[in-house]
Amino acid sequence: MKWYTVLVGFVTAGLTIALVTRGIGEPVPAALWIPGVNAYFALQLTGIGVYVAAIAGCIGALAILYSIKYMEPLEEEYPPTRYYFLTLLFVGSMIALALADNFLVLYIFWEIIGFCSFALIAYEYHRAKARDAGTKAFIVTRFGDIGLLVGVVVLWSWMSQMGSDNPFSISETIRAAMSGYIPIGVLSVAAFGFLAGAVGKSAQFPLHVWLPDAMEAPTTISALIHAATLVNAGVYLCARMLPMFAQVWWWLPAVAWIGAFTALLTAVLALFEKDLKRVLAFSTISQLGYMMAGIGAASVFASQFHLLNHAIFKALLFLCAGAIIHAVHSKSMYQMGGLKRSMPVVHWTFLIGTLALAGIPIFNGFWSKDAIFEALLEHHDYGVLGMLILTAFVTAAYSWRMYWLTFQGEPRAEAEPHDPAWQMAVPLGVLGVGALISWLYVDGYATNLGMGLPYHPVHDIGLVSLVRHTFTSPLLLVAGVAVVIMVVLGTRWRALGPPVPAGPRIWADVVTDTKAFGDWFWGFWVVAMKTVGMVLGLFQSGDLNYNSLWLAIGFIAVLLMFLGWG
C-alpha cells in the first residue's frame, strides 16, 4: 500500500511536469456540472496554475517517499492507511485548485485542502494538542473563507445578472472585469473577500496564528503544508486575480502592507523561538509575506518565482528538520547542537536550505527575493521595500542562529544521531540540488508564467539579463549586508559558543507562543462567544412558565417590529 502511494505520487509528479512542458495554455474541455446554476467543471492550464500544480505534485511525491521511513514508528499506534489517503487527497486537491477555471470548483477544493490540513495536523489524535491544533487550523482559515465565499458569490451574482452563460468562470470574470463590465463597487467587495481568504490560507497577519500550532503535524505534513500545498493557495489566488483587483485602488497597497508587516513580525518572532519546527513555521509566514508584497507590487513573476524557490528550500528544510527530530527525539534547538559530524548529509543539505532562506547569493532564495525588491522599487513602494529589507537582515540572523544551534558547537542531545535511511536521504538530495540550481530555470519560468493569462503583466526575463540586472543593482547591497551579519554572528558564536541561553527565557516563550499576542486576540473572541452562549443559556431555564413568557415576548417583539417598520 505504501509503495503504491509512492507510485501514485510520482506518476502525479510526472503528469504535472508534463503539464508544464506540453500543456500550458492548451484548452481543456469543460463539462456542464450543475446545469441549474450554469456551473461547469472547468479547468484551465494557466502558467501560474500549472506551476503551482507542479510544485504540489513534485514536492508531494518526495514527501510521500520520505514518509515511508519517517512514519514507520507511528504505524503501530495509527494505521497508516488514513495518512496516505489524506496525503494524496491533499496533493490532488491542491492541483485541482490550481487548475480550476470555475470559482465554485476553486472554492470546493479550497475547503477540501482546509479539511485535509485539519485531518493531517490532527493525525496523531491521541494527543489533545494535535487535535486542538488541527481544529484551530481549520477554523482560523475558515474565518478567511467567509470572505472568499462571499466574494465568489458576489462575482457570480453580477456575472449571471449580466446574462453570462458561464457565470462561475474565472477567466470570463476576469475578462469582463478588464473590459469594464463589473463596477468598481462590486469588485471592491470581491477584492476584500478574496484578500481575506488568501490571508487566512497563507497565514498572514492577523490570521497567522494557526500556522505555528500546526507544527503538531508529522514533519512530512508540515513540509507539504508549507512548501507544496496549503499556504501557496492564498498567494496563488491573489496572483491569479491580480489584474482584476488591481483596478481597486486600495487592493495592491493593502496586499503589500499586510505582506510586509507579516514578514517583519514573524521574522522577529523566529529570532526568539527555540522549537526548530516553529522557527521554520515563522519563517514560512515571513516568506509568504514576501510573496504577498511581490503581488502588492503588481509583479506576478517576482512573487511566483519566490513561491517556486521557497517551496524547494522550505521543503528541504522541513525534511531535514524531520530527520533531525527523528534522530534527536526533541524539537528544541537548545537540545541539539553538534550534529555536523554525526549527520553529514543532513548537515550539508540543511546548510544549503539555510543559505537559500537567508537570501545569500547564489542560492535560489536570493534571486527571487531580489526580484521582489526590484519590483517594489519599480512600483515605488518605498515603505514596504524598507520594511522587507529590514526583514531580510532579521532573516539572515534567525536562519543563521537556527543553523548554529542545530549543527555547530558541542552536541547537547542525549540520543545517538545518525544519517537517515535512503528513503529519507534521496528527497533531501534532490531538494538540495534544487535549492542550488532552480534559479537557472528562470528563462523558461518567466516565459511560461504568463501563458493563458492575457491580462497578467509578466515580462520575459532571460537568465543572462537576470544575472546582469541583479549584480548591477544597488539592492545587491542587501545581500551583502546579510552576508556580513552572518559572518559577524558566525565569528562571535565560534568564539563564545552557540547562543544557548543559560536559563529559561520566559518572556521569549510568552511572545512566541502567543504569536506576538495575536492568539490572545482570537482567544478573546472564543471566550467572548462562550460567555455569550452561557448567558443565553441562562435564559434557557427549561421552566415552562418562562418558556411561555418567551412566547409572549416573541409575539410582542414581532408586533413592535411591525409597528416600527410598517
Partner: protein
C-alpha cells in the same frame, strides 16, 4: 386526486401497522409494513409529480369548491418537495427503529410515525388555511406523543408536556389569526385571500394577524424566542423521532408559515423575518457551543439551521423583485440538505446512545473509533452541517449567500452573518468529532460493546451516501427544489406585485 392519495395511504397504513404491531409484537414486521406504506405514499407523490409535469394536476375534491370551509388539497411542487423529503426520512427512520425501539407498543410507535408524516405531507398539499391548520395539528399531536413515547422515564414526559403546552399556545395564536382572516374575507382558499383581505382589513389588523401567523407557526419552526421547547423535546425523544423532528417537522412548521404568509400578502415583513433569522442563528449556535449532551447540541444546531432557512424565506418575502427565487431556492435546498445531514447526525447520536445508554459526550468519547462506518458518516454529517464541501450543506449555503448578495446592502450583511455563523458552528461540530471519534476512551467505560445491528447502520449509511452525492452533484437536489422554488417565487411576486 393525486394529492389525496399519499394521505390516504399513510393514514390507512398507520391503522394497518398498528394492528400488525399489536398482533404480532414483531418490530421487524411492523417496521416493514410501515416502510412499505412509505413506499406506497412515495409512489403516490411521484404520480402527483408526474401529473404536474404533464399539466394534468388538480386538487381534491376535483369539483370547484364553493363553500369556504371545504376541505381542499392541491397538488403542487412545494408539496411534492416537502413530501419527498419527509418520506425519505420517514422510510429510513422506520428501518432504523426496527432495532432501535423497544418491542413494547411498537405498533403505536409506527402508527404515530406514519400519522405525523401524513400531517407533514398534508401541509405541503393543503389548499386552504383550514386544511393547513388541521393537518398541522395532526402532525403536532402525533409528535407530542412520540416525544413522550418512552414514558417509563421522566425526562421524555417532561419534555413532551413542555412541547405540548408551548406548541398548543402557538397553534391557538395561529388559529386566532386564521379566524381573523376568515372574518374579513369569508374565504380560506390560499389563492383567494390576498385581494379580499387587502380590500377588507386595515393596516393594524393586517399587522396583528401577520404577527399571529408568524409567532403561531414560528413556535413549531423554532424561531427564537419561540424555540424554548425544542432542546428538551429533541434530546428526550427517541432518536429516530429526533431525526424526524429536526429534519422535517420544524421545517414543515416553517413551510406552513410560509404558505400562510404568502396567502395573506401585503405586509412588508421581510425585514422582521430577517432580524428573527439573525437572532435565531446566533442564539442557536452560541448556546450549542456549550453543550455536553450530544443530542442537545444537535438540537441547538437545528435552531441555528432554522435561522439560515428563515433568512432565505425572509429575503424572498422581503425583497421579492430581487430575491424571490434565489431566496426560496436557497431555503428549500437547505431544508433538503438539513433533513439529510441532521437526520443522519441524530441517527448516529442515537446509535451511540443505544450502545452506551448516555448522550454525554465525555462518556461517549472515543466510541466512534470502534465503529468506523458510523464514525465516518458522523464526520460527514458534522462537516455537511458546517457547510464544508464536498458534502451537501455547502451548496445550499452558497445559494442562500447568493440571495443575500442579490439583495445587496442589508442582504449582503445577512450573507456575511450566515457564513460567520457557519464558522462558529464549526467549533462545536469539530468539537463533537474530536471527542466522539478521536477522543480518548474513558478508563471506566465498558470493556466490551455489543455490535451495532445492521438495521441501525443501514439508514446512517444511506444518508451518508446521499450527503456526499448531493454535495458532489448538487443538480440532483435542484431537480426537486427548483420547481417548488419557482412556484413559491411566482406566488410571492403575484401577491406582492
Amino acid at each position: 386526486m393525486e394529492a389525496l392519495l399519499p394521505l390516504v395511504i399513510l393514514s390507512g397504513g398507520a391503522l394497518f401497522t398498528y394492528l400488525v404491531g399489536r398482533l404480532s409484537r414483531s418490530r421487524t414486521l411492523a417496521g416493514f409494513v410501515a416502510f412499505v406504506t412509505v413506499l406506497g405514499a412515495a409512489h403516490g407523490v411521484y404520480q402527483g409529480w408526474q401529473s404536474l409535469e404533464d399539466g394534468t394536476a388538480g386538487g381534491w375534491p376535483s369539483w370547484t369548491a364553493t363553500a369556504p370551509l371545504q376541505a381542499y388539497l392541491v397538488t403542487n411542487y412545494l408539496g411534492v418537495f416537502l413530501a419527498a423529503t419527509a418520506l425519505l426520512l420517514t422510510g429510513l427512520v422506520a428501518v432504523y427503529s426496527m432495532r432501535y425501539m423497544h418491542r413494547l407498543n411498537i405498533g403505536k410507535f409506527y402508527a404515530l410515525l406514519l400519522i405525523m408524516t401524513a400531517g407533514i405531507v398534508g401541509i405541503g398539499f393543503a389548499g386552504d388555511l383550514f386544511t393547513l391548520y388541521v393537518l398541522f395539528e395532526v402532525m403536532s399531536i402525533a409528535s407530542f406523543v412520540l416525544v413522550a413515547f418512552e414514558r417509563e422515564e421522566w425526562e421524555p414526559i417532561e419534555a413532551g408536556v413542555k412541547y405540548l403546552v408551548i406548541s398548543t399556545s402557538g397553534s391557538l395564536l395561529a388559529l386566532l389569526g386564521i379566524a381573523l382572516i376568515y372574518s374579513y374575507t369569508a374565504t380560506l382558499d390560499l389563492s383567494a385571500i390576498a385581494p379580499m383581505l387587502a380590500a377588507g382589513a386595515g393596516g393594524p389588523t393586517m399587522i396583528a394577524l401577520t404577527a399571529m401567523i408568524i409567532v403561531g407557526f414560528g413556535v413549531k419552526a423554532a424561531i427564537v424566542p419561540m424555540h424554548t421547547w425544542l432542546p428538551d423535546a429533541h434530546s428526550a425523544a427517541p432518536s429516530g423521532i429526533s431525526a424526524m423532528l429536526s429534519g422535517i417537522v420544524i421545517e414543515a412548521g416553517l413551510i406552513a408559515m410560509l404558505k400562510a404568509l404568502v396567502a395573506i400578502g401585503a405586509v412588508d415583513f421581510g425585514l422582521v423575518l430577517a432580524v428573527l433569522a439573525i437572532v435565531t442563528m446566533f442564539v442557536g449556535n452560541l448556546i450549542a457551543l456549550r453543550q455536553d449532551d450530544l443530542k442537545r447540541m444537535f438540537a441547538y444546531s437545528s435552531v441555528a439551521q432554522m435561522g439560515y432557512i428563515l433568512m432565505g424565506v425572509g429575503l424572498a418575502l422581503g425583497v421579492p423583485h430581487l430575491a424571490a427565487f434565489s431566496g426560496m431556492r436557497g431555503a428549500l435546498y437547505h431544508i433538503l440538505n438539513h433533513a439529510i445531514a441532521k437526520g443522519g447526525a441524530f441517527l448516529c447520536a442515537g446509535a451511540f446512545l443505544w450502545l452506551l445508554g448516555t448522550r454525554d459526550m465525555r462518556r461517549l468519547s472515543g466510541i466512534g473509533r470502534r465503529f468506523p462506518v458510523v464514525a465516518v458518516a458522523f464526520i460527514i454529517f458534522a462537516l455537511a452541517l458546517a457547510g464544508t464541501p464536498p458534502f451537501n450543506g455547502y451548496f445550499s449555503k452558497v445559494l442562500l449567500v447568493r440571495a443575500g448578495v442579490d439583495v445587496g446592502g442589508w442582504g449582503l450583511f445577512m450573507a456575511v452573518m450566515l457564513v460567520l455563523n457557519s464558522v462558529i458552528s464549526l467549533f462545536y461540530y469539530l468539537g463533537a468529532v474530536n471527542t466522539v471519534v478521536f477522543g480518548p476512551v474513558p478508563e471506566d467505560g465498558p470493556k466490551s460493546i455489543k455490535p451495532l445491528p445492521f438495521m441501525i447502520v443501514l439508514p446512517i449509511v444511506v444518508l451518508g451516501v446521499l450527503a456526499v452525492l448531493l454535495g458532489v452533484y448538487p443538480e440532483m437536489g435542484l431537480d426537486l427544489v427548483d420547481p417548488a422554488a419557482e412556484q413559491v417565487a411566482l406566488a410571492i411576486s403575484w401577491v406582492f406585485r
